[in-house]
């Protein structure tokens, strides 16, 4: 056993009940290597890193740390071997200071066995300064941005002397500049010899940040490639197990007559937005996180109140003060936070899917179960939703199928305008392709779609036109029915470059 690897995991197998999630997976990483872990949802990525982090224990297989066989039974064991986990959801305690959070669970003690606050604060401050954070260690966590909190978690990992850092979708809720900063820190840690496992669904990041990629599929090891020797398409083929040329592959649709017009819309968060939406087109909304795209959608849907401006639909002026108004005008919103805003996780698929069309089968104190099942079956087939029965709980489905339920819920109400806010966030490649295809089918049927997305390739490859927002106003609308707009052009609008009108 050589010590060229920081750690090696050999033939790891793990099953939950009869469901085998990891089947003889081996992985080994050198010091200072950044390894991407990719695969569709349910491929076993999270389970693998959770075994390394001591959250789960493997059924069989061995782990070597610095060439020595290691036993990791719990999080404490893992920590002792220098494994640190940066979770997707931030796990700081908001009412405690930064220093207290960094030293949570391993507070420095003085001679009287009391917590040594001075030492704690000093060391925390050093850790913060090293990461170039302009923060005081005595500040409360409450009020810090997600990016800052994430940096504090990294500071904690560094302070613990982490040798292996696991990053689980770290950029999921970061803006562009915050992401850049995170990448700079990853580079710095890498030079300091810290090995990292990087889980992300975003291809671009993988190629930017990582040295190598390991792909898992259905709990099996598929292969490891160096990032400079592989291509995006090769990785996708490895992930889905078949040849994959282009997950977009849809011809961009050209819109018809104008169906909706927004004039000088202003709310607390967005100002003076004017644009038109054509029948059967896909209008992409791009921009940095916090540019006001979601807030615009919320205003159109009646959740954020409109201060001034007008919304016209098919020649009629709408007065939208609550979601009901928007719904009866034919506007539907598939919200950004699928689980929090889109679904009743503990209720059945049937209840979720038919929520907007209750009056079609609940009448005069009678529930027409047959009709309800028919509605569910219709969308089950149309969107190829994988489910056991109508009564299965929505929370038991995978992310992709959950998203299909949310979309079906609105399609059942036959909307004229469908707003999709980050429709493919956290969804695996296969389901992404299906959702793109569905969007184009719908547009072909005459539904007008507003798609908000932070992924530039997604915007460029699907939209008929692209609207770019910046700091609450509309920086420009680009038509790409003839020529494709480059990512650089969109970014220059988004950051307020020369073309930008605001």
């Amino acid at each position: 056993m050589s010590v060229e690897y920081v750690f090696e995991m050999k033939d790891i197998t793990k099953a939950f009940g009869r469901n085998v999630v990891l089947d003889g997976v081996s992985i080994s990483i050198r010091p200072g290597e950044v390894r991407a872990l990719m695969g569709e949802n349910g491929a076993g990525k999270s389970t693998l890193v959770k075994i390394l982090g001591g959250i789960f224990s493997a059924d069989s297989g061995t782990v070597f740390m610095d060439g020595q066989e290691a036993v990791i039974r719990n999080v404490d064991d893992a920590r002792r071997y220098g494994v640190s986990f940066i979770h997707q959801e931030i796990t700081n305690v908001p009412e405690m200071t930064i220093a207290e959070n960094i030293f949570l669970g391993r507070e420095p003690k003085n001679h009287f066995k009391m917590v040594d606050y001075r030492k704690m604060k000093q060391e925390a401050q050093i850790a913060l300064d090293e990461l170039g954070l302009m923060l005081d260690a005595g500040m409360l966590i409450r009020g810090l941005s997600v990016a800052q909190q994430q940096m504090i978690e990294i500071a904690r990992a560094v302070n613990e002397g982490a040798k292996i850092l696991i990053l689980d979708e770290p950029t999921a809720s970061l803006s562009h500049s915050e992401t850049e900063n995170l990448f700079a820190q990853i580079e710095r840690l890498k030079n300091a010899g810290v090995a990292m496992i990087y889980i992300s669904h975003r291809m671009e990041e993988t190629f930017n940040v990582c040295d190598s990629v390991t792909v898992l599929r259905d709990g099996k090891f598929i292969g490891t490639r160096n990032t400079n020797e592989t291509t995006e398409n090769e990785l996708i083929s490895m992930m889905v197990g078949r040849e994959f040329n282009n997950i977009y592959g849809n011809k961009r649709v050209v819109g018809g007559a104008v169906i909706m017009e927004v004039k000088n819309l202003t709310t607390k968060k967005v100002s003076n937005i004017s644009f038109t939406l054509k029948k059967g087109e896909i209008l992409g909304f791009s921009g940095l996180v916090g540019a006001g795209r979601t807030e615009l959608a919320l205003a159109l849907f009646g959740i954020d109140s409109i201060q001034s401006g007008e919304v016209w639909m098919e020649g009629e002026k709408l007065s939208i003060t609550k979601p009901r108004d928007a719904i009866s005008a034919g506007i539907a919103l598939v919200p950004e936070e699928r689980k929090e805003q889109g679904l009743f996780l503990e209720h059945s698929i049937g209840t979720n899917l038919t929520f907007q069309v209750l009056s079609e089968f609940i009448n005069h104190l009678r529930v027409d179960r047959k009709k309800e099942t028919e509605i569910v079956d219709e969308f089950k087939q149309k969107l190829s939703i994988k489910m056991a029965s109508t009564e299965q709980l929505a929370g038991e489905l995978s992310g992709g199928n959950q998203q299909k339920i949310v979309i079906s819920k609105w399609l059942a109400a036959k909307p004229k305008v469908l707003i999709l806010d980050e429709p493919t966030r956290g969804i695996d490649v296969g389901a992404k392709a299906e959702i793109y295809k569905l969007m184009h089918t719908l547009a072909g049927e005459g539904v007008s779609i507003i798609m908000i997305s932070s992924e530039l390739p997604e915007i460029i490859n699907n939209s008929s036109r692209i609207a770019i927002m910046r700091e609450g106003c509309l920086a420009g609308v680009l038509d790409q029915q003839e020529t494709e707009i480059s990512q650089e052009t969109i970014m220059s609008y988004a950051v307020g470059g020369e073309h930008s009108v605001c």
Binding site: G17, Q341, F344, H347, A388
Partner: protein
């Protein structure tokens, strides 16, 4: 859970079993533990005493559980909607006092019932309106109304119990129709009405939705504030109904009655599978929960268990039952 997983893999091969697709069987499965507990309790009492399985005793159990049943139905709706209502005990007392006052004034029976029900509705509306429009915690708001309404019932009577001398009114608590105690008839009526409201109307689905995920309900166009208000009105009305029936049974409106009634009602709901986090629960389950508590009380009296110890036993039973339920739920989520 295992058979559900198999179906996910081979959906076409086997028709899914009734336990997975039929709402009644799903309800049965969810409340299996409580049902078994109830049956077990009855069997044990039938064997260990010869006074339990007697018509008179069983009828008196039914009569006794009625009050808790009304309150628990209301509380169940509120819990499903994601709230809690601590004011019910006081509403029971105030409604009883008002009903007796109306009866003594010689008003027709229907008016004696409607006026206290109106009072319950007003208190419920107040609770719901304040909770939904200020987003203050339901616990705090209804705790305050509990104290306020208790005060009102003392003010109405000057602190003294109000004796009822209206025979028709009193008959409601102790009389029978076709051999069935009148309060039981009322319970069945209330159950049917609420069952239809909660299961056969859009409003019912919206209540479950609001409790299951308020944010998602709002995004789906549900007026969650108005839903909350209406649910608290239901709870207030049910508590008032309990108060009327109780006053009729006691021949008097007592301002001090109903102290701690919310405890038994919440316990019954939770025993019957209602989730404290909202979104989950059934009236049928609550009925089972009410019967468990009622039979337990009756059984402990028959077995001549010291009444101080009865509290201890009841608390342990509730804790145990809820823990079993929790284990079951955790098991099903883990897969």
């Amino acid at each position: 859970m295992l058979n559900r997983k198999n179906q996910a893999e081979t959906p076409q091969l086997k028709a899914p079993s009734l336990w997975v697709i039929n709402p009644f069987f799903i309800w049965l499965k969810r409340n299996m533990a409580a049902m078994i507990a109830l049956v077990f309790l009855c069997i044990v009492l039938s064997i260990s005493t010869d006074t339990f399985l007697v018509k008179n005793n069983l009828f008196s159990v039914l009569r006794q559980v009625c009050v808790n049943c009304f309150i628990a139905f209301g509380i169940t709706c509120v819990l499903i909607c994601g709230g809690i209502d601590l004011s019910v005990g006081s509403v029971v007392a105030a409604a009883g006092v008002i009903a007796v006052r109306c009866g003594n004034a010689g008003l027709p029976l229907i008016v004696c019932i409607l006026i206290p029900l109106m009072f319950g509705a007003v208190i419920g509306f107040f609770n719901g309106f304040v909770i939904s429009h200020t987003t203050l915690p339901a616990f705090i708001v209804t705790l305050s109304t509990q104290i306020i309404v208790r005060g009102i019932s003392y003010i109405l009577t000057g602190g003294q119990p109000a004796q009822s001398n209206n025979e028709v009114f009193n008959n409601m608590g102790v009389g029978s129709v076709f051999g069935i105690p009148i309060p039981v008839v009322f319970v069945i009526g209330a159950f049917i009405i609420l069952y239809f409201i909660m299961n056969r109307t859009s409003f019912g689905r919206h209540v479950y939705a609001t409790g299951g995920n308020k944010e998602a309900a709002r995004y789906a166009g549900v007026d969650t504030k108005w839903i909350q208000v209406r649910v608290f009105v239901i709870s207030g009305v049910m508590a008032a109904l309990a108060g009327i029936v109780l006053a009729a049974r006691l021949y008097s409106g007592q301002p001090s009655v109903g102290e701690g009634f919310e405890r038994d009602a919440i316990a019954a709901s939770v025993l019957g599978g209602t989730s404290f986090n909202g979104g989950i629960g059934t009236l049928g389950g609550t009925m089972v929960g009410v019967l468990i508590i009622g039979v337990l009380n009756n059984g402990m009296n028959l077995l001549k268990i010291n009444s101080y110890w009865q509290f201890v036993v009841k608390g342990i039973v509730i804790l145990g039952a809820v823990y079993v339920d929790y284990l079951k739920k955790r098991g099903s989520l883990k897969k």
